[in-house]
């Protein structure tokens, strides 16, 4: 295996280790969890073996910094952009849908190595539409996943950066933003939560027909009644 591949494998293992630790910590807070606790112990033990076999003496000591999940790019023509980012650049469509609250429709393409691009097309007036009007589209934001949002926010505050918007309402998805004015021009979204899992059955056409929408921070099929 090439060195880069091994590094990526180890980084993914460290992510999994932290996720399992988080899971076991939550289980611990619940008290006596019976078979769940034992299963958690066995998963952690097997993951420890996996980590060892990829040459990690202590996966818990692996760097616990934020991981860049995706780059958000604002586009005027979502179908044309999907052709470029999907067909021509070889991206795999992993999720997408409309988001009425934000006034956008989006597509997530994944690439070799795990990097992702989120294409955003405004569907009504709002911040993304204004971005398109003022800049003509292009890179809009960076989304990082962090194992500990509170620690990240504390770190920003310590560095004199102000979090402009934070949403900690849902345990599975907590986020905070740093304004482009404070980051030398780039909107930064920091998220603590589970990865956005790939969705099977999703297509560009279906998203453009508004058959998918973002609900509870994941793409879901629009219910027929609602569409009517």
């Amino acid at each position: 295996m090439a060195g880069g591949d091994v590094d990526e494998l180890r980084a993914a293992t460290a992510d999994a280790w932290r996720a399992v630790e988080r899971m076991r910590s939550r289980l611990g807070e619940l008290g006596d969890t019976g078979v769940l606790g034992i299963l958690g112990e066995r998963i952690a033990a097997l993951l420890g073996e996996f980590a060892w076999e990829v040459g990690m003496v202590d996966p818990a000591a692996a760097p616990a910094g934020a991981r860049l999940d995706h780059v958000g790019v604002v586009v005027r023509d979502l179908r044309a952009a999907a052709t470029l980012y999907g067909d021509l650049l070889g991206g795999t469509l992993v999720c997408g849908g409309g988001h009425d609250g934000m006034g956008i429709r989006s597509l997530h393409f994944a690439y070799a190595g795990g990097s992702k691009v989120e294409l955003l097309q405004p569907t009504r007036p709002g911040p993304v539409a204004r971005f398109l009007e003022s800049r003509g589209g292009g890179p809009h934001h960076l989304t990082f996943f962090t194992p500990d949002l509170s620690a990240s926010i504390e770190g920003f505050a310590g560095a004199g950066l102000t979090v402009v918007d934070a949403d900690r309402g849902a345990p599975e998805w907590q986020e905070a933003y740093l304004s482009p004015r404070e980051t030398q021009g780039c909107l930064i979204q920091v998220v603590e939560g589970a990865d956005i899992a790939p969705v099977s059955g999703i297509t560009v056409d279906a998203v453009l027909r508004d058959e998918w929408e973002w609900r509870d921070h994941r793409p879901q099929r629009v219910m027929t009644e609602a569409r009517r």
């Binding site: 295996m1 091994v6 066995r42 033990a45 076999e53 040459g55 003496v57 202590d58």
Partner: protein
């Protein structure tokens, strides 16, 4: 070349040694901080684990422990070293106790159980077995660590274990054929017996790819003839209760090779260095040079409920230079086929048998002396014959039931079945060395089995 783990096997020697060094230092610190055994043991030394940085530091500053140290420690605790209150313990493994010195207790936690089969999977996968292949296990499941170990190793390699614990040799041969087994795991003595019976019956097993030996030394000629007869690679693994599975094993090149002049010679065992750091030392603890034989000392690098840190195994092996195998793997190397004991322990039908323990059973009135012989009978079975001499003047009625009483006592206290012959003291067979009562004449030690197909 078969690959069991592309990450570890893809490392160069320096990278692997770096991993071993970091892991060994961490293992010593962890044991000193959390293991009751090592806390007790190190309290009697001036070891400062926080000062250790390198493998050389560990070699120079960390004292070796022995089985006797473990037994002494376990006697100090009501739980025998396995605190009944420790909620992380998931299994307790006890050694057989046939040494007469006591039974070692090995608590196992979830991490131990998760990792138990992984090192052995290297042996099977390197030998060319693939997930889904069937492997016959002949080592009884009930026997201390061995049974769980072999089951877990099959699971880790994705193999299907075919349990051949029960039944006759004919049953096992039939099952090897019926289930199209790709491998069999057995002692050399048992493989010898299978081979003789297969020859007699004319059975051939085209599906058999590899024969996995463990538990006792064997001759290169015997291994070569066995490989030729079966058309399979003869492989070997070495491990112990303390090492939580295999710590060294052969690769796809097998345990025996043929020189340019046609003579069979023992090939190479690879150390699974990333899991178990192996040292080979002189009796005074100093390291042997490549080419020399010495005692195996192990440091298990994975976290464990019962760590083994510089544990003297009382097994001996010949150290070889790295790269001796020629397969390109970066591991340490040792001579296959030659692992034996530094003491006089015998391995008989998979049981550890110490002559001292036999002495304690046999040398009681009216027996004044005895000689023991382990050999292969005409069907290749391991047999033990003991000739005892009774004191002059012993009443005939005592002599009459002596064989049956001694047979039962040996079975009960040492765990093996023996044939007893009673003679007058003057009829005791001569031994080459008067001080040694035991001879090992098993066929697998030197001779080949002859008329191989290869």
């Amino acid at each position: 070349m078969s690959v069991a783990n592309p990450v570890i096997e893809g490392m160069d020697e320096a990278e692997l040694l770096g991993l071993v060094s970091r892991a060994a230092v961490a293992a010593v610190r962890r044991a000193a901080a959390t293991s009751p055994l090592y806390q007790w043991f190190y309290a009697r030394t001036d070891l400062r684990p926080e000062r250790l940085r390198t493998l050389d530091d560990v070699r120079r500053h960390v004292p070796m422990v022995t089985k006797q140290d473990l037994l002494d420690f376990q006697r100090t605790l009501p739980g025998g070293g396995a605190s009944p209150a420790d909620p992380s313990v998931r299994q307790l493994h006890l050694t057989s106790g046939t040494s007469g010195a006591g039974r070692e207790i090995y608590p196992r936690d979830g991490r131990d159980l998760a990792g138990l089969g992984i090192p052995g999977a290297y042996e099977y996968l390197w030998a060319g077995l693939a997930p889904g292949d069937r492997l016959m296990l002949t080592i009884p499941y009930s026997q201390t660590m061995a049974g769980p170990y072999f089951q877990e190793t099959c699971a880790a390699a994705g193999l299907v274990p075919v349990n051949g614990f029960a039944g006759s040799t004919a049953d096992r041969l039939r099952d090897l054929e019926r289930f199209a087994c790709a491998g069999i795991s057995a002692t050399p003595s048992y493989v010898h017996r299978l081979t003789l019976e297969a020859k007699e019956s004319g059975l051939r097993l085209p599906s058999l790819k590899a024969i996995f030996l463990s538990g006792e030394p064997y001759g290169a000629a015997w291994a070569h003839d066995t490989a030729a007869f079966w058309g399979a690679t003869v492989c070997e693994g070495w491990g112990a209760t303390q090492t939580l599975g295999v710590a060294m094993c052969t690769c796809e090149r097998g345990a025996v090779t043929v020189d340019g002049d046609g003579a069979a010679r023992h090939a190479v065992l690879h150390g699974l260095d990333h899991r178990c750091w192996i040292e080979v030392v002189h009796p005074d603890g100093s390291p042997v040079e490549p080419g020399e034989t010495g005692e195996i000392v192990v440091t298990v690098l994975r976290p464990s409920a019962q760590p083994a840190i510089r544990f003297r195994m009382a097994d001996k092996v010949r150290l070889l230079p790295r790269g001796s195998c020629g397969c390109g793997r970066p591991t340490s190397c040792y001579a296959a086929g030659t692992i034996g004991r530094v003491d006089d322990m015998l391995k008989i039908r998979g049981m550890n048998v110490w002559p001292d323990a036999m002495d304690a059973v046999l040398l009681r009135t009216p027996v004044v002396d005895y000689r023991g012989r382990v050999y292969s009978d005409e069907r290749g079975r391991e047999a033990v014959g003991v000739t005892v001499a009774f004191a002059p003047g012993t009443p005939p009625e005592s002599v009459a039931d002596l064989p049956s009483r001694l047979r039962q006592a040996v079975k009960r206290e040492v765990g093996i079945s023996v044939d007893i012959t009673v003679v007058d003291p003057g009829q005791m067979p001569e031994q080459q060395f008067k001080s040694r009562r035991w001879r090992d004449d098993r066929a697998v030690r030197e001779a080949g089995v002859g008329d191989g197909r290869g």
